[in-house]
């Protein structure tokens, strides 16, 4: 699913965000990318989304190398990814269901089926009653759930959620994490970044990817790998 060999990410201003990352993650897992703010969690997500490119090393997501020369193929790769952005990136002036359908319009899915999937996804995140409400009028938590519905409605192979617990209180943050975890199955990998490690203490089935000062270590079931 995700293979990284000695991957480094250096921003244009010279900041080294990640260095010598090595990963070999299989399909169908639940991964938490954890670490303090500014440690490189979002940078890792950006690399996996093809929003940034490795300065050194080799990175492959679902068989697709992440490289500057592969932008067209990376665009195709993104159709198999369900992203939940930190700032949601919902399209304002549209309803919740329109936003969810938007993620499927350009896929090879008939419109009727896309509508059904969108409705089901909104039911799953508990927002069916807000399906026809403009996203501009939704609360922070509701907007986040629309973003999750958009990510999962198209049944992606990889769900990438960047700091989904950001500004939520403890109870709502746990609910969101549980919701995201529920989408993990044999064919769907879920990767969540968070700095709130206390929220995931109970989740022993997850693989934890610790990011600290641009370097990573992996822990599963309480053991370092």
């Amino acid at each position: 699913m995700i293979k990284a060999r000695n991957v480094s990410l250096v921003y244009r201003d010279g900041t080294v965000a990640l260095q010598n990352i090595n990963l070999n993650l299989h399909q169908g897992g639940l991964f938490y990318v954890i670490g303090p703010s500014g440690s490189g969690k979002t940078s890792l997500m950006k690399l996996l989304m093809g929003m940034e490119f490795p300065a050194t090393g080799f990175l492959e997501v679902m068989g697709q190398p992440i490289h500057k020369r592969e932008t067209a193929k990376i665009r195709k790769l993104r159709r198999d990814i369900g992203p939940v952005f930190q700032e949601f990136k919902l399209i304002l002036g549209r309803t919740a269901i329109e936003n969810v359908i938007m993620g499927m319009r350009f896929l090879d899915i008939p419109l009727q089926k896309a509508r059904e999937s969108a409705k089901n996804a909104l039911v799953r995140v508990g927002l069916e009653h807000k399906a026809f409400t403009l996203v501009d009028k939704l609360s922070y938590g509701e907007a986040q759930r629309v973003a999750i519905a958009r990510a999962v409605a198209r049944k992606p192979a990889l769900i990438l959620a960047d700091e989904p617990t950001g500004n939520l209180d403890h109870d709502n943050a746990v609910k969101i994490l549980k919701l995201l975890e529920s989408f993990k199955d044999k064919s769907t990998t879920v990767m969540i970044t968070t700095h709130a490690t206390h929220l995931i203490d109970e989740c022993r089935s997850a693989t934890l990817i610790h990011v600290k000062k641009g370097e990573i270590s992996i822990e599963r079931g309480g053991e370092q790998i």
């Binding site: 932008t71 665009r75 993104r78 992203p83 952005f85 990136k89 938007m102 319009r105 350009f106």
Partner: protein, 292 residues
């Protein structure tokens, strides 16, 4: 096809977002295209005029009054390469023709005691061979004087050529201006929708999906301008034909329906093509930004 409704709605939203500028660009494009239609119409009329005059190019040969039977000369002239018809015009016919031309003023001919006109030969020729034909006829025995209308023809051809050049210049100016207007409007639309475009890219939408509503906007704006120009040119040509037909009936105008059909086809297809092209130019600015 499943997204056609979505594309139309998106195009409508883009137009409404900046509706004042879009209305002005539609009007501006319409007026520019109207100018194009006008020049092309004049070009068409002048080409028709030159074509007809060229087809009817004729010279008049006057022969000696002592010559009793001009048939020999007629036979000789008919053998000249470049001559396709020779006709004898008697003095009475020449007078009748002038009466016809003068109309109400023809009474001046009654002031002459005798018919002032002489018989002559009306010779239809191929215009491109006028020099050699003239030279040969002038050298024929019995020919006194040859009159040609080459100067008039050359002047009309000059005007037609100038209109043709002006036409090309106007086509270039209209194309460039329309492309600049539309690509600018599209860039504005892209700027206003930059967040949505970025999100769609992150979701994996292809450029064709993102760009199609903008192409539709460019098409609708210029096609609207083309329709406006077509309406204006139709009104102008209908009125122009009414006026010219009454006051200058001798000008050989092309068929009004054919001219209008040609102009409307040109304006609509040209505006549609320019709109799509202008949008594609405008859209190329998306690709200059990062591919994020």
């Amino acid at each position: 096809m499943k997204n056609i409704g979505y594309f139309l709605r998106e195009a409508g939203k883009i137009i409404r977002y900046n509706h004042v500028s879009n209305i002005f660009s539609l009007l501006g494009t319409g007026l520019i295209l109207f100018l194009l239609g006008l020049v092309v119409a004049l070009w068409g009329v002048s080409s028709q005029l030159v074509g007809m005059l060229q087809q009817e190019a004729e010279i008049s040969a006057y022969f000696s009054s002592q010559l009793e039977d001009p048939q020999d000369i007629i036979n000789n002239i008919q053998l000249i390469d470049g001559v396709w018809n020779v006709r004898y015009v008697g003095a009475e016919e020449a007078r009748a023709r002038m009466e016809n031309i003068l109309g109400d003023e023809s009474y001046v001919l009654d002031l002459f005691e005798k018919n002032p006109f002489e018989p002559y030969l009306e010779i239809r020729i191929h215009l491109d061979q006028i020099d050699s034909v003239l030279q040969t006829i002038k050298n024929l025995k019995g020919i006194d004087y040859v009159r040609d209308n080459r100067e008039v023809l050359e002047q009309i051809k000059g005007v037609a050529r100038a209109l043709e050049i002006l036409g090309y210049l106007v086509i270039a100016a209209v194309s460039i201006t329309t492309l600049v207007i539309i690509s600018h409007m599209i860039r504005q639309g892209i700027f206003h929708n930059r967040d949505q475009i970025k999100t769609l890219r992150l979701l994996g939408a292809p450029d064709s999906f993102i760009g199609f509503p903008f192409v539709l906007v460019g098409f609708l704006l210029t096609f609207g301008g083309g329709l406006l120009a077509a309406v204006l040119i139709t009104i102008l040509i209908n009125r122009g034909y009414g006026q010219l037909g009454g006051t200058l009936p001798f000008i050989p105008l092309p068929s009004r329906d054919r001219l209008l059909l040609g102009l409307i086809t040109l304006l609509l297809s040209g505006s549609a093509a320019l709109g799509i092209l202008g949008s594609l130019f405008g859209l190329s600015s998306i690709n200059k930004e990062n591919h994020g």
